[in-house]
């Protein structure tokens, strides 16, 4: 069952599969940790999206939210949850790229072309940042 859940995590791209992962609860979270980075040992709390390897740290998410607010010139009381999509906040494709560039500069990482296509929400951006920061730390 554990291997099945890993396979479905890797290849399935439909929400129903990820919901069945959620039913497995902590088990799927542990699978994530062993596949992905082993330094952050807590299971994924946001398992509603299959691409998440491990939950991003809250301060990373907060930094991303701040940058998004500044770039899109949103007022301070617009509620930005990690699940909010950039397009629903009024950002077109150029705005999205600009946000990604701003994050690149802020965290000193560089995002590849294929990675940047997938970033549509704040949470995805934060996760990608975490992954790249860890890769960079390992490479140094």
């Amino acid at each position: 069952m554990a291997t099945v859940s890993a396979a479905s995590v890797r290849f399935a791209s439909l929400k129903p599969a990820s919901r069945s992962n959620q039913a497995n609860g902590v088990t799927s979270g542990v699978m994530f940790v062993t596949i992905g980075t082993s330094k952050l040992g807590f299971p994924s709390l946001r398992s509603s999206r299959f691409r998440v390897h491990c939950a991003a740290k809250p301060e990373t998410v907060n930094k991303v939210i701040d940058i998004v607010k500044k770039q899109l010139a949103l007022s301070d009381d617009t509620s930005l949850t990690p699940e909010s999509k950039f397009s629903s906040l009024g950002a077109d494709s150029l705005d999205t790229v600009e946000i990604v560039m701003c994050l690149e500069e802020e965290f000193d990482i560089s995002v590849d072309e294929d990675n940047s296509q997938n970033i549509t929400t704040v949470q995805e951006a934060a996760d990608l940042i975490e992954k790249l920061v860890l890769q960079k730390a390992e490479a140094d």
């Binding site: 494709s93 150029l94 705005d95 790229v97 600009e98 560039m101 690149e104 500069e105 072309e113």
Partner: protein, 134 residues
Amino acid sequence: MSALAALKMVKVPPNSASVGEARKRTLEFFKMACRSLPSVMEIYNLDDVVTVSHLRSAISAQIRKNAHINNPKVIDLLLFKATEELSNIVTHSKQRHHVIGQYVLGHEGLMQDMGTKDEGISEFLKQFYTSNYF
């Protein structure tokens, strides 16, 4: 590295087939420009004048000014000129006052030393350059 990449593209790649491909090229150009911004800041000693985010928003404002265009050939030509401009800047063919005047200062930028001379000026005159109606 970005300067070399920029020079490579000056050799006229084939035309974009569709608006989608032109959009991809625009975003690619924007990414290249943003990645070369730190070296631009260093070349022209802009560290105490402007930040990288200011330059980035200046670039995106210029791109957005032409966002309404639908013809892929027109977009290609605009990208060609943009790449030429970027490679001029990166290879230090321009000078500091060019860069500051074109990308750092806004419309009112050149008239910012208003100082004490204009303190008693009327509201009408203050908004004379912007619009008739206020």
